[in-house]
Amino acid sequence: MANADMPADTMLRTADGQPLKSALAKASRKARIRAFLLVVPLLIFVLLTFVIPIGQMLSRSVNNDQFSESMINIGVWFDENPNAEPDEAAYAALAADLVYSAANRMIGNAGTRINYEVPGTRSLFTSSGRKAKNLKAPFKEALLELDEDWARPDLWAAMRSASGTTTFNFYQAAVDRKINADGQFERADENSRIYMTLFGRTFALSVVITGLCLLLGFPIAHLLATLPLRKASLLMILVLLPFWTSLLVRTTSWMVLLQGQGVINNVLVSLGIVTEDGRLEMMYNQTGTIIAMTHILLPFMILPLYSVMKTIPPSYARAARSLGATSWTTFRRIYLPQTVSGIGAGGILCFILAVGYYITPALVGGADGTLISNQIAFHMQNSLNWSLAAALATMLLASVLILYWAYDRLVGIDNMKLG
């Protein structure tokens, strides 16, 4: 604060002797309050629709009360005996918890939570829960008599990690790790490592789709920016037409076109280009996802590119030509560098949309064309493992933010031009 240690008499003052700074602040306060009131509705809207849900998602992804809210005694024992083998006291606490949760119909929830980590243990909880009220000390023998599985170290490791109020287990599951018997994390079995593959595929396909959009969109945007107004507006309507058609309609029309017995294959077969048995598989695989999503995301590439190209006067290209550059050199050295901000904006837009796309891959992707968002939806709707869904979604969000940050470092976000 340079002002604070400035001698009072050198401070600038208004005519009536007030310090200039406070006079200025007072004068502009009213305007600031009015400006703030104008944005309040937007602020509330953003808070309700964006900040709170994302906060909820984040908290859900580390939320761990499914087991701990009913299994209280065992939680206390875990806290008091870190790293200890389960003893009689532990089994007694467990038995008490089983009785309590069975009586309050929470045993299923608790079992489900452990089942995420150690598959097949949900029934252990529910069946033991039903019989728990008849158990007598010593509880260890009694429980083991009910089911041998109660001695399994990986089960105890899972219960220990599920009894904290927060957990990173879901993130570990999201990166294909699981708890082993020693309470350590190791890579999941070969055939259940699905998320990293899906993340990889999602990003790879998004890169391909973004690249295709750029390849197809660049010449169109250039045409749009250089054609005479009347033709340009006609072309613009064609570009915008997809926006006016339902996403579902567009996707299903691709299905009509691309499927095995679809229009394109029928034409190819009737022209004799492919044989009846050699019909191309363009649907329910990655090809289908790429084709349909490229089409859907193309306008998001074209519009930012167009808005940048529109501002590049033709005199630059003319100047370059008059200076002796061939048309290719002119394009590469003069035109292309000036469109970088549009390429960046369109690329980021397409990529982010592609990474989170759900409906199209779900409809046309088949087994190997689905993306991470389909898996998130699966956990939201079918397996009801919301915490895992939230963890996957958070990772998706984080990777997009990292990408954004990297773009900012490399190109500069100020250089991005969206329209």
């Binding site: 003319r318 008059s322 200076l323 550059a325």
Partner: protein
């Protein structure tokens, strides 16, 4: 009008026509021969086809009909980058993503020139416009006048024999424009290049050019050195367009030895030089420069006819007095007189007699 090539024909437009839409001719039968080392200005009102001519010469538009020759070679089929013509654009067209140095080195790079040679040439070109210290700036960090100089340096850096400039000073303020006019003229003389310059500022055209081509409606109205253009306009468009001019309409009373006696609508007789009137009884417009009109009897040549005039307005302009008169029924006859010592200030309402030397009044065909 026909232009006999009185030069070596470095650049030749030979019966060139241009139409953009196939309906209207923007350039109608252009014949122009520009000598090596000449500074030729195309001057004309907006839309008269100046830029179009320049673009055809640079290779960005193709002539619909006719030949354009550079050093005797027809260049209609030569692509712009092979013509070796330097060009300065109205908005400068400096590449915004390159520094000043990179902008200048670009034409040398595309010619495959080595690094040290490039640097030497860039330095020489920047020194020429006194801008070497700005070599690492971006165009956006320069003022309009500075950008203008860089654009000039870039058009000259690869030593073109011909440089085209399309209203290069249009965006500058008056003082800077005058300064740059001087610099461009100076560079033209010291480098011996041929310059084709487009402007619609007649002052600029007159001060800079060896010859001026006045364009109107897709045709050259007159092609002449500045003094001839000003003193001896060939038709009423040129007379009106270049400088200030008074017009008096009348009928030719007699023609004798290039001298015409014209009777005005109000019956008075005036003297004029017959430029393109040929016969007695023809309608004509007599054009007279405001500074060539005299109202003191002793300054008039003997035997000159005089006309009655009434002073409507008198404006004191410092070095000049500008007086608006009613002459032969028209209210916008202007005379200019120098503020010499003893010069009398006229009063509105005053009745005077005005006259001129017959050489200074030109009887033209009405347009």
């Amino acid at each position: 009008m026909v232009n006999e090539p009185q030069n070596d024909g470095f650049v030749v437009f030979d019966h060139v026509q241009k139409s953009y839409d196939g309906e209207a001719l923007v350039v109608k039968d252009l014949n122009l021969s520009i000598g090596k080392g000449e500074f030729l200005t195309m001057l004309g009102p907006s839309g008269s086809g100046k830029t179009t001519c320049l673009m055809m010469l640079a290779g960005f538009e193709t002539a619909t009909h006719g030949d354009i020759r550079l050093e005797g070679r027809p260049i209609n089929e030569v692509p712009p980058h092979k013509r070796g013509i330097g060009m300065v654009f109205q908005n400068y067209a400096l590449f915004p993503h390159m520094t000043v140095g990179e902008n200048l080195s670009f034409p040398l790079e595309v010619r495959g020139m080595g690094k040290s040679e490039r640097e030497a040439k860039v330095k020489r070109a920047l020194d020429m416009v006194q801008m070497y210290s700005f070599i690492n700036r971006r165009p956006a960090q320069l003022s309009g006048g500075q950008q203008q100089r860089i654009a000039l340096a870039r058009a000259l850096v690869f030593d073109p024999g011909l440089v085209l400039m399309d209203e290069p000073l249009g965006a500058l303020d008056k003082q800077l424009r005058e300064h740059m006019q001087f610099e461009i003229k100076h560079l033209h003389e010291s480098l011996g290049i041929t310059v084709v310059y487009v402007t619609h500022d007649q002052g600029e055209a007159l001060t800079m050019s060896d010859r001026v081509a006045v364009f109107n409606d897709g045709r050259i109205q007159q092609l002449a050195p500045p003094d001839e253009l000003y003193e001896r306009p060939q038709n009423s468009f040129v007379a009106q367009f270049i400088g200030e001019n008074n017009k008096l309409e009348g009928v030719v009373e007699s023609i004798d030895n290039g001298r015409a006696l014209v009777r005005l609508g109000t019956g008075e007789l005036i003297d004029a030089t017959a430029v393109n009137v040929t016969a007695k009884g023809q309608k004509t417009v007599v054009s007279i420069r405001p500074e060539r009109v005299e109202y003191k009897a002793e300054l008039l040549p003997s035997g000159a006819h005089t006309v009655d005039a009434e002073v409507l307005e008198f404006i004191y302009m410092g070095d000049l007095f500008r007086t608006r008169l009613r002459v032969a029924g028209s209210d916008d006859f202007v005379i200019k007189s120098r503020n010499t010592s003893g010069q009398r200030m006229l009063k509105p309402g005053e009745k005077i007699k005005i006259g001129w030397a017959p050489d200074d009044a030109r009887a033209l065909e009405p347009s």
